[in-house]
Symmetry: D3
Subunit: 255 residues, 6 copies
Amino acid sequence: MSFNHVRMNHMVWKEYAARKDDIIILPIGATEQHGPHLPLCVDSVLAEEFALRLADKVNGIVAPTISYGYKSAPLSGGGPLFPGTIDLNGSTVQAIITDIVDEFVKDGFTKIFILSAHFENQAFILEAMDLMSQKYEAMGKNIQLVNSNWWDPLSPDCLDKVFTEVPFPGWAFEHAAVTETSLMMYFAPHLVRENEIKPSKQAEPGTYFKYPIEKDIVPETGVLAPAVSSTAERGKIIADDAIENLVKICKKAFK
Amino acid sequence: MSFNHVRMNHMVWKEYAARKDDIIILPIGATEQHGPHLPLCVDSVLAEEFALRLADKVNGIVAPTISYGYKSAPLSGGGPLFPGTIDLNGSTVQAIITDIVDEFVKDGFTKIFILSAHFENQAFILEAMDLMSQKYEAMGKNIQLVNSNWWDPLSPDCLDKVFTEVPFPGWAFEHAAVTETSLMMYFAPHLVRENEIKPSKQAEPGTYFKYPIEKDIVPETGVLAPAVSSTAERGKIIADDAIENLVKICKKAFK
Amino acid sequence: MSFNHVRMNHMVWKEYAARKDDIIILPIGATEQHGPHLPLCVDSVLAEEFALRLADKVNGIVAPTISYGYKSAPLSGGGPLFPGTIDLNGSTVQAIITDIVDEFVKDGFTKIFILSAHFENQAFILEAMDLMSQKYEAMGKNIQLVNSNWWDPLSPDCLDKVFTEVPFPGWAFEHAAVTETSLMMYFAPHLVRENEIKPSKQAEPGTYFKYPIEKDIVPETGVLAPAVSSTAERGKIIADDAIENLVKICKKAFK
Amino acid sequence: MSFNHVRMNHMVWKEYAARKDDIIILPIGATEQHGPHLPLCVDSVLAEEFALRLADKVNGIVAPTISYGYKSAPLSGGGPLFPGTIDLNGSTVQAIITDIVDEFVKDGFTKIFILSAHFENQAFILEAMDLMSQKYEAMGKNIQLVNSNWWDPLSPDCLDKVFTEVPFPGWAFEHAAVTETSLMMYFAPHLVRENEIKPSKQAEPGTYFKYPIEKDIVPETGVLAPAVSSTAERGKIIADDAIENLVKICKKAFK
Amino acid sequence: MSFNHVRMNHMVWKEYAARKDDIIILPIGATEQHGPHLPLCVDSVLAEEFALRLADKVNGIVAPTISYGYKSAPLSGGGPLFPGTIDLNGSTVQAIITDIVDEFVKDGFTKIFILSAHFENQAFILEAMDLMSQKYEAMGKNIQLVNSNWWDPLSPDCLDKVFTEVPFPGWAFEHAAVTETSLMMYFAPHLVRENEIKPSKQAEPGTYFKYPIEKDIVPETGVLAPAVSSTAERGKIIADDAIENLVKICKKAFK
Amino acid sequence: MSFNHVRMNHMVWKEYAARKDDIIILPIGATEQHGPHLPLCVDSVLAEEFALRLADKVNGIVAPTISYGYKSAPLSGGGPLFPGTIDLNGSTVQAIITDIVDEFVKDGFTKIFILSAHFENQAFILEAMDLMSQKYEAMGKNIQLVNSNWWDPLSPDCLDKVFTEVPFPGWAFEHAAVTETSLMMYFAPHLVRENEIKPSKQAEPGTYFKYPIEKDIVPETGVLAPAVSSTAERGKIIADDAIENLVKICKKAFK
């Protein structure tokens, strides 16, 4: 499915202008190592795929995906020492989100959904949203800014359906592991090296942060928990559940 | 106990200069609402008290506490709508930490521990640490920067000992609840209004963030989980366990 | 042709790491109105398509495209008053380029080509390059930064081959006009609304800039010169010529 | 005297919220060398002590003290070469004051007094005040921002009463000298090493500034004028006079 | 001619205040190498001279000239490797223009003309104008900001009258060449070393930018096209034509 | 006297390049109200005139004057409410000084003298110098940065010779008063409206700062102390004495 009807990118300007009362979704991912079996674009692909499906359900439109994100942390993404992990500074993430959303607002949009698929983006998305929201209020503009991702809204029982063979290692370690791998097998199977999915050790939780970053706290492959047992079917379970709950968020949050 | 021997504040400059090979601890708290029974200074008091005790054990010294922190989030601190919650922007938190640590480094210190007692400070402390660490490496300086708090290092069984009467609501909701209240009863009992500790509803977890912030997602009192069952004894259990583990972190992380 | 072998996005991190001695190409486009017949993504599509073909010829790799660019100017892109034109501030463009290139450098790359398909990006790309280059020199790093686009390198006679039916209006007015339309018909014909290509008036050159921007200085459609006579064949002529010359630039500039 | 009734720090949020029509005082000091007889916290202690006493008289409240200040200058504070002098950049001082005052304003306060006890903070406090004031005026908010310290408001004859044994060296050199030492002996005698108060040479005035800073322009001890003749009684004379005049300022300036 | 009656510099404040309904012209030049025959101040002299003559015709006033500008580019000004070329960063150019114009606006001026005589200033002047204009609109202020220079407004046939002996090399290479040299011979003949005007090679156009800048792409003298044939008479032709057209711009643009 | 031999502005680039071992002087003034008898350019004229004379004596060269300075304070310059007082933000003053000095350093200069004639510039000049100096030290560059003005270096008895008819009001109030007026009568008599020099009230010292600025704290004319008794002869006394002492500073400070 192409989802061409929801891609802002593919619209001419008058088509876009006519949609200003709809929800506009800004996907933000990252360019980040995802082990030997997943490509660097995982977070950007997931952000875009979820955004397209959500837009399809809520009559929204999807802005071009931001393909670079905030710095990968060792114990949730492998960290900056892996080649291919392209880390933006926090101020840059804030600036790009702010500038883009400001333009949506100038174009008349009032319902804006920032959909992230990279955990580490969170704090800087919220900082941007807070500062923008204060600015819009001072200008007397009534703008609704919503942020979520694909993991926080999952139904409580969804993980039970997915983790029937291996235990859920916690979200921090779900990096290049069962959920991301299954989603990629469902959304973009041609980008998954299935024969590189192998049993591996799980990273151990940390109780502190140290800089310069210590190399040995992350498995050498960059996989934080084993991806074994990933399937496209499990990817579909997650995707369907997340979309259903993201639709509910849109209905509840945008008034 | 006054802990005067570890307070940088109370030293004359030659005493401080003589300590440059020791660990220097920078406490950072916040000024933030903590319900009807705890004062606005809870996070700053806790940051300082843990820092003093840690310094006492590891022969460290404690820099003056930063009493203001990053923006309170609704579902981990009540959020910005409460009077008395004084929110710094993220760039300001980064700047103040960076400037202070740069000065420690100019004075010859190489082992620097940033001890936070306000959850929301986390992302901006790490951003500051990352940028400083890159700078020091470019300058050929070997500086070790460590960050932790009092909750992440707790032993797995510590919470079992504390939550014998009420269930543990998760760390996000432990705001003005049993752990913070017990710690304040242990460290600074004169600042606790015990008769204001009352049964209350627990906040409900959110699956998205919205700005402008919705007022009704946080209990009116600002207490995110009931503080009932808090005691100074429970505070001591937490404090002793946290200190013991913070000491271990210092031994492991600083080389 | 998929050009999968040159897309950084589709590589796993070890594949990317193995390419560090090759040229890495960073495409930057824009999200900008392009009249009634071309979609908002023209500049991003062109940046990416040229980057992929160039990489294919010089054994380079292509980083994820930056889909948002600097502010559209009225007399070279229609300007900010058109919905769908998403303008980043200059400081944001500088920051995103700087952060990404810094990461390539940390990963060991030394030959970096920034390929823009949006005229207005120019000054801020150069400012970023200048500041980075000074920084790398101070660090003793030998990094070569090159910037070009698809129009400056064209052979003198290329335009003669393209503009056989209508006169060349000058590059400023080649917005949504014959060159861009022909290139899109060649690279992405499914995104072109051919029946919307109609005779239209050419914009008139300005001798000054005024803010607030005057609405009536740009044709209402956003097309600055007529796109009539555009064909995929003409697109191929431009593309082939540009690629040939971009390859020459790579050979000459990277030592 | 504890002054607990005026400490914002010790209030719960509803107590603070109820005080929004009162004057809120923000003390800002520094962490700075003060010779062999005074601790690094002198400026922060003085800022806080004056703030508490002033609040007590004008029914104001005192926000948590900012314990770090702008860069020490050689000929008014000894300068950056002394260990223990922790210098914030000017932009950081501006940011922290701005963020905090903005929050007081959001909480409904309109009478804000920034009380500094570190001379070098002056220019950056004023820059912050000017920029905030312009912002509030643009927002249509009527906010009164006042700044003073403990030395400018002193009555003309106050110094005559204090300097009966040694001559007044001018305010620039009153660093770790008679006024600061006497005030510390009055406010915090346990922090003064009285046996380290010794006759010393006075610094010589400069007619230019040079960077890198020349080490030999400041006495090796960091004391810019002799502290000999300091007493708690003299401290009380200064304190009482300053408070009396600060109260007058509040009455005159806040309307 | 002294043009004293239009120089803001020479007015007392009440004279300036009385002119607030007139056009205020802010000249911005540069300090930049101009070969062996022209001084470093060429761009600043030209900016000021054009501003004075324009003000004289439109009853405007001229603010003090900004004597430093944005970074010289190799193929339009010789570039940063020439001593005497003093390059401001783009953010600095934006800041100085913004601060000055903001002050004109506070003083009641609404018609502001930024007159540049240094090509490279362009992008950063426009960025400043755009951001200011958005700010003024948000404040409900009706401020008209206009920018031009002396070359864009020239009549089509003016260059024909000037380039009767040598061909016009294009504006980029008109650096220290016939137009600038002739204008200096007309405006400030005592600053021209006529015996240093010699036949020279013209720079060759570039199709890409590279950093670090390659030294050999610019003629060693810094002259980008020969200045031979320059005369004061030709300078007058250019000056008169430019002024006439700048006057027309003022009449058309300011309403 | 034209001082052409010391003006960087009038040099061609090779003349400037040959002077890199000499002292380079950067004058910074302001555009600021100076009452009914002095023009807005007083501080810029004085900065430049002192710089030229100093350069003449020490074989230095003088860079183009910065004609805009930091914000005028009410009780040292009349303040921002006077039309014609053009106030730069502190960060802008820092940026412009930093960028210019960085360029001198790239051109090989190591002895840099920043000569201000506007009191309020002080703090931001020093902040720029401190940050630059730290940067140069990190780069291993030995650069000497000196800052002074024309009033701090005056000999103790100089004021006695000048103030024979009226008392010296203190430097803060010497705004548009006897010293500045006498210097302008000496350096630029054609710019002084002598018949507007009239007896006037002296401003009264303040003990606090308030924003928004109170209009009535400054005499309506903008003159802070009477200019009566000003003469060109007195101007010469000040000028000669200041130059003599500035020469001594150069000899002492630059090594």
